[in-house]
Structures are given as C-alpha cells and as structure tokens.
Subunit: 516 residues, 2 copies
Amino acid sequence: MNQLTNAIGRNLPESIEGYGKVRPFTGAFATVPDMQRQAPKVKRILPNEQKLVEDIETVFKRIPVTDGMTLSFHHHLRNGDGVVNMVLAVAAKLGLKNLTVALSSVFPVHAPIVEHVKSGVVAGLDTNYMSGPVAQAVSHGVFPRPVVLRTHGGRARAIECGQLKIDVAFIAAPAADDYGNINGVEGPAACGSLGYAIPDAQYANHVVAITDHLMPYPLSPISIPQTRVDYVVKVDCIGDPKGIVSGTTKITRDPVGLKIAETTAKVIKAAGLIKDGFSFQTGAGGASLAAAYYVRQMMEESGVTGSFALGGITGYMVEMLESGLFRKLIDVQGFDLDAVRSLAANPNHLEVGADFYASPFNLGAAVNKLDAVVLGATEIDTGFNINVVTGSDGVVMGGSGGHSDAAAGAKVTIVVANLLRGRLPIIMDKVLTATTPGETVDVLVTERGVAVNPRRTDLYEKLKAAGLPLKTVEELKALAEKMAGVPENVITQDKVVAVVEYRDGTVIDVVRQVGK
Amino acid sequence: MNQLTNAIGRNLPESIEGYGKVRPFTGAFATVPDMQRQAPKVKRILPNEQKLVEDIETVFKRIPVTDGMTLSFHHHLRNGDGVVNMVLAVAAKLGLKNLTVALSSVFPVHAPIVEHVKSGVVAGLDTNYMSGPVAQAVSHGVFPRPVVLRTHGGRARAIECGQLKIDVAFIAAPAADDYGNINGVEGPAACGSLGYAIPDAQYANHVVAITDHLMPYPLSPISIPQTRVDYVVKVDCIGDPKGIVSGTTKITRDPVGLKIAETTAKVIKAAGLIKDGFSFQTGAGGASLAAAYYVRQMMEESGVTGSFALGGITGYMVEMLESGLFRKLIDVQGFDLDAVRSLAANPNHLEVGADFYASPFNLGAAVNKLDAVVLGATEIDTGFNINVVTGSDGVVMGGSGGHSDAAAGAKVTIVVANLLRGRLPIIMDKVLTATTPGETVDVLVTERGVAVNPRRTDLYEKLKAAGLPLKTVEELKALAEKMAGVPENVITQDKVVAVVEYRDGTVIDVVRQVGK
C-alpha cells in the first residue's frame, strides 16, 4: 500500500479499507473549510399529530431503520447509560446488519456492542473516547471496519459539515415532554448538560427522544427543541444514576500529584494570566482538580474575578462560580451532582453544544477564548505530541475527547504528567499514537521539572523569570529513563483498527491491531 | 397576463414581474415540503482573531456588501429602531444599489426606506407587517418590485428552506460581547426576546451584531451565539427606548370591546378548553388583553392551571405566569417592560425563535400546541377569510405577523371585531386582501353575536348548548349593512405592489396599487 507522511512525521496509508482516502494532518490551523453546512430534509407535522410512540421497535419500523444506517448516541449517561444497549438490542432483534454506531464516548457498560459486531449487526464505530471491552475489541481487530476516533469539537464539525451523516439520532433524555422538548437536569437519570447531543439533534435525518421521565408540555429548560424531534418513546429506565454522576469529585491526595498541580498553578501565574477575566479549563481527574485548587488560591490572593471556566464541569468549578471567582461556567458535560444542580438553577451556568464548546469550523468556539487549559497525557514525545488514545501496551484506552480542541484554542496549554506511568517513562522520542499535535502544547509539567515548547520562547522567558524549575523535554526524558530505563517499542500488526482524526478531519495517526 | 385561481377563489397572475412564478394557495395544510434545509457556508476563525470592527462602513467593505444583496433585520426595537436606518445610510453613502431589505416588520420610524427606494439603493422589501410611510409608499407603487408579505412563521420557513436567502443579517443587539454572543434583556435598548432574529442568525451567509451595550465575555443569557456571528460593531445608540417598549399595556375601557372580550372568554369556556393544561395566545391590543382578563377570571374560578401562553408577551401574561395561572410563557417578542424583566429573570419564561413559534415546516411549532387564540381583523368575509393587510381604502396598513400561523395551529381560532370599523361594515362577501384562510378560522365574535364557521359543527353544538348568541356570518353581515349600508368596492390599479404569501410559501393573494 502506498504511504504518506503527515505534518508531524507519521507514516499513514494513502487509503484505508473501510475508511477511504486519507487526508493527512497538515498543521493545527492549516485546513480552511470549503463546504456548505449539512442540510437535513425539511419536514412538517400537522397540528394534531402526536409524537409519542409505544416502543423503540415501533420507531424502527416507522422511520424505517434499515441496514447500513448510522445511528447516533450521546454519552452523558456515561457508564450508567442504558439507551445504547436498548436500541441496539432492538436492531439485533429486527435482524438489521452493518450499522454504524456514532456514540460520542464508549464506556465499559457498552460491552454488548462487541457481540453486535460479531453478529454483524454493527460494523462501524465513530467515537471520541473509549474504554473497557469495546476498546479492547477494537484493538484486537474485532471490528470489520476501522473505528473513527474524533475530538469532541471534531465530531461536531463532522456532523455540521456533513462528514458524519446521521440517519437516526437516539437521544437519551433525562426529561422530555410529549412533543420532544428535552433537557438533562430533571428526572432519575439527570446528567446535567446535553452538550454532545446538540449537534446530533440539529443535523440528523431523524431524531428520537428516549426518556423515562415524561413531563407536561412545555418542558423547560429546553436543551433540544421539539422542532427537531420526530418521535418520543417512554421507557422504564434510561440509565443507572450510580454510573451517571458521581456524588462529588475529589482532589487528589497523592503528594506527587499535588506538587505537579502546584507547579502548574505557578506556570499559569508566571504566564501573566491570573488577572481579571481569566478563563480556565481543567479535567475532572484528581490531579487536574488539584491544579484548580492552587489556581483558586492565587485568584483569591490576587482578588481576581475570572470570566469563565469551561469544559466538563465539576462541583469544584460550581463552588468557584458560587464564590464569585468565575462569572460564568460554560458546560458541555457535567460530572457530578453539584454540576447538575447548578446547571438547573444558576443562570450563570450555561449549557452549550459541542459545536459551541470546541468545533474548529464555526465563527469561534469557546475553547478559542481560553487563557489556560490543563490536560493529561499517557505519552508525550520530544516534539510535544501527546498520546491519549493508547496505553503502553498499544491497546486503546481513551481518546482525545476535548483534549486536542482545548489545546488548540487556549493561549497556554499545559500538560501535566508524572514522569513515570506504571513504571514506564512517559516521555519518548515518538508517541505510539499521536492525538494532539505538539504545536498546540506549550508546557509540560512533571514532578521533576517543567519543559516549555521551544516554539514558545515568550513563555520560556516568563517562566524563567518566575524561577520555575525549567528543563528541556529531552532532559526530562533522560531523567525518566535513568529511573526506569528505555521502554521497549510496542509491537503492532499492520491492520489499521482505528483512524485518529484531528479536529479538522485530517488524519493525525492510525491505531494498529495488537496481539495475535 | 394569464390568470389562475387559488383555493379560496382569488384570481392571481401566473407570474408577477419582480416576484416570479406564482404558486397558488391550495389549502392551509396542503403543501408538503420537499427540500433540504438551507446550508450556509462553513467558516472558521482562528483562536486569536477579533470580531470587533470600528464601524458599519468597515463591515460593509470587509464582507463586502455588493449591489443586489439581501440585508436582513429584526423588528424587536419596533418604532424605536435605529439600526435599519443606520445601516441603509451606509449603503447609500457607499453607492450601493438594488438591495433587498428583509425586515421582519416595518414601522413609521423606517420612513427613510422610501427615499432609499427612490434613489435606487433599495429595490425590494420582504416583511411580515408594515405601517406608516413605507406601507403608504408600497401601496402607491413606489417600489420597483412587489413587496413580499409573509407570516412570522412563514418568514422563518422561507429562511430555513432557502427561499429567503440572506446575504447579511444585521442584528440590533441590546447587549453583546466582543465575540458575538447577543441577548435582548440588558442594555438601554432592552427589548426582551430576540425571537425573530434567530432564524436570520442561523442561516445568513454573514451575521453582524450592532450593539450599544458591550458586555464582558461571555455574555449570558445567549439568544444568538458567537458561533454564528462574524462581526460586532459598537455604536452610540441602537434605538430609542420610548419607541421600543411601552411602560405597560392596558386593557380596553371601551364597553363594546369589553362585551366582545367577555363573549370571547365564554366561547373558550363553552368549547371545553378551560381545564388544566389550557394554552392560549392573544394579542397586545386593548381588546385582546380584555379577553385575557375574562379568561383569567374563568381560570381562577375553576382553579385551572394553564400550560403556556404564547406569542407576543405583555405584562398581563407575566402577571398570569407569576400568579401560577400558566406554568410557562413562550415568548417570541415582548411588548412591555414587564415582559423584558420577566424574560431576564424567570426560568419559566422561555425565549424562542420564530421557527419554534410558528414555522409550518419543522417537527412542530408551538402554535400547534395552542388550545385557543384570539385574533383581530380589518375585514372578514362570509367564507371566514380574514384581511389584516389592507384598510378600507385599499392601502397597506398591517400584515399577518403571526395571525395566519396561530390560526392554523390552534384548536379554536377566534376572531374578534366590532361589526363596524370606521363606520364601515367589517363583514363582506369577499375581503379585499385575503391574509388568513377561512378554513383556519373557527369563530367570529362581534358585539351583536357570534358566528361559527360551518366547518366546525362540533363547536357550533357546544356554543349553542352554552347559550351563546349564535348567528350566521351572513346574518351578522346583514346587521352591519343595516347599520352602515353596503360598503363600496375599493378601486385599485392593475399593478401588483405586494404578494401575500401564506405561511407555506404559496400565494394567498396580491395587493394592487391604489390611487393615480
């Protein structure tokens, strides 16, 4: 097969069976869109028509769902989601084949997908993140077609630009009325923001709300409007609350994690960002939250009011909103009960779609307005390219999610990591799977020092002046290797099992089969 | 010229110069859409790009605005609007010609449009309602092309379906941030809902926010999002608050109006609609508000909680929301300060776009869920067709606005009118300009009796059982003629000065030139 090399030196096939022609990554901001937006069919409904349908099977027959269609789902119910399995069971029962599942993230609870692949019901998967049995199955070559791995913003872009065409969007609806208005803040499966479902509902050819909490018309707030929803199905239960939101997310107690977090906050301050209007994104992991903790101290000390915190929202961010440290929260996904409660009640807590959050191809996503973002990594290389897709064994265990999007948008992008991960150095010459390109990563913070991307001489000078423990990324790599040796290369097969699309739709890397 | 006759017997040219081929009205629900939605160009903006531009002239040059383009505007600033005149003055200064102005409603303040037409800057007008000098000029044949008169829902449909293509939407923004998020509830020109601007922003090729109240990023609530706004211009003043909202809207004190209103409420009750979940729309005029007053008494007496009130929202509806008589308000346009205040603060007061309010071609507008709507009329004929476009002299003095939309959607559509209007009978064999088709009008309430559309035998029986003073429309017509004689036919010229499109885009009637 003919090969090509993309802008970060990855060798890629020119074309991949089951995916098509590869458009190589050419730089984080190199692709200029040249198309019209996706235009779904115009429909109508007569004033007395009803949308409530007795069960999912009836919906399948009414649409009708046929072989080869793309069915989309959102992941806001996370590992408590009951809707994907429920819908695919109907597809299997009806004998459908060759479906593509476009599910914004895949969790262990979605294990039944593997059986649907084996039986031919499902042939394709399009997602931004996956963990658990499905991710394992992908890596072991169970899927007949390579999985498409996107970023959160890239998925919104692909939908808006007609590159991910959705035949039917099944929306797990924590609350809905009988005319299809939906929100995520009420009902037993309340999950908060429905941000990832918003582009699906906007552009799918058919939209089905699946709810266990039918409310009187008109439901409000309205996250997804009646004007785009064809059918409403009431089921007993759309998900298990225990898997949907955690009671509360907690800051790490690991001293190494705390040290990295404190250094991260110092980097942000040294970069001159702790001032009125500061905007910030961090993850929900314990170490990321710890960074928020130290940032908060600095904001309080300096009497600073931030403009907004962005991304997946936790109770810690809610507390910062309620304390007046941020004027607004921009929420594409909530992680805990406090985030759900706040979104329901606080007008300064804004729900936005994945397009508003992170799409590269509109007139400005929220990530573009970020001052600082703190992100994780499973591997980083000396070109500052990040891997958050595969683990040290080459098996898929994640995905970009909003990683590449926030990295591209923020003024200062900081990756935090322990030098070792599972006794293996995290820094290498070349990451196994490039997810986020080095040109969008500014600083690496580890427990043994801080490396600044050589592209950011401005930032280097500021951090140096602030007395931060600067090292080159090569020096940090050498330190790690001194502790743990040089890791062996992962041996993979030739078969491409996943295509990693950058947020603009170009291919930044591929994942190859492991084992056998 | 060849003629055709539409489903309500109107003779229309087959084709109209400057408008094109006429698709005749074939029935209120006869048109089934068969197209894809309009797909504007996909754009992008880099993370550090700015949208704030120094003045409107610079925006014209950047886009660039060229001869023949369609510029759209919303009418939420009503007779206080400063933006339309401001923008068209720039167009004139730059020597542009042959522009089409797509302004959702035209008020006396927009008189300068007439001069722009005479000088060739503006050639076309697309609107849902007009009064004042522009309406006079239209009727006297000043425009080189016939004006297109739409309904509020029809305008949203035409934009969504690509039949009204907007090159540049200029959004008068009572509040905006520098990245283009817009709302109508803050700032000196606060007008409440921006519902009519929402489809424009969604589908225009270029969107410009013009504001006199620049807020820190991110502004919220967000009525129009940053993702669709190309440029933001700060000006000194977008409008005169005195012309935008009234201090408070008042119920009529006219005893005839009160009698009609009371009868109207009795019709609604007799129709069996005063029960939990009741939904209602009425206008902001004194007589319409009086109907709300009597409906309210009945709701209170029966201990009924309504689901929602819809449409243009007044302080009276806000009071009913706050008293728990309606669970929600669905607001496409606010009429007074109370409506603005409530929309800003009350989560049960929902802002919606014109598409959600009234478009016939989506999966269900709010009008479809209406139990009862109370509407006015300048003329009504024995086929229950309504004219709200031209006055007794044949001159344009209004337009459908949401009239035809609500009439089509509601379970019971009631038209209220004094038998005489300016000493002339309001009922005739054939209205001068058909706006809303009789098949969507159920009841006519006058001070001398109530006429039920013969199509609604079910309703006739209920109103009869309730002892309402029923008459046929012919009997009411005879009564009026006995008082005031048979009105003379208005003499018009041949030239078509306006095309009245029904909400589905078919032509329900035309307006011909008056005078000379």
